[in-house]
């Protein structure tokens, strides 16, 4: 039932700003992250911890996680940034 990757390390490579967005994204920060294991790939993630460009972060998600974290009935959100690696 769960996705292939649950939690992984990634590097923050840039911010994304959307002019128009789904209500579930209102007030949230979006960052582009690139998995440490696969630098050619990327994912646009919702920041939950105040990460910045250049940070190495813990990222991931699974069905239902964004719904519970943000207390929403419906959340079309795949990946959350949930930690900054020291």
């Amino acid at each position: 039932m769960l996705g292939v990757e649950l939690v992984y390390l990634a590097k923050v490579i840039g911010p994304v700003v959307c002019t128009v967005k789904h209500p579930a994204y209102e007030g949230r920060t979006l960052l582009i992250i690139s998995p440490i294991d696969d630098p050619d790939d990327y994912e646009i993630a919702v920041d939950y911890v105040g990460a910045g460009v250049g940070d190495t972060v813990i990222a991931g998600g699974a069905p239902g996680v964004a719904q519970s974290v943000f207390n929403l009935d419906k959340a079309p959100i795949k990946t959350l940034i949930m930690g900054i690696v020291d």
Binding site: I13, G14, V17, T19, V20, K21, Y42, P63, A75, I77
Partner: protein, 96 residues
């Protein structure tokens, strides 16, 4: 979420009842620096405002069904954001 560019539209009258009123758009998938990568596919527009030429953010599979208020909706790719011009300028300069 991934980036995609809206390159076209799909018109369909005979469809699943929960898809009535949902705009279907043709998407060219993009890399993190907005370079086209991969084959085009169809996505459902959950913003109601996306159109050809725009760069959008897209969620997939089970997350895509979460983008619409319908209890059930058979979509596996949904547009959830339209990327702003400043971000586009930064990314296409090779921030990735």
């Amino acid at each position: 979420m991934k980036f995609g560019k809206v390159i076209g539209t799909v018109v369909s009258t005979q469809k699943d009842a929960n898809l009535v009123g949902v705009t279907l758009l043709v998407i060219q998938p993009l890399d993190q620096d907005l370079t086209p990568k991969g084959s085009p596919y169809i996505a459902a527009d959950a913003t109601g405002q996306a159109g050809p030429g725009q760069v959008v953010t897209i969620v997939f599979s089970a997350d895509a069904t979460q983008a619409f208020p319908q209890r059930r909706i058979p979509v596996d790719a949904s547009i959830v954001g339209i990327v702003d011009d400043c971000t586009l300028a930064q990314l296409s300069q090779g921030a990735g």
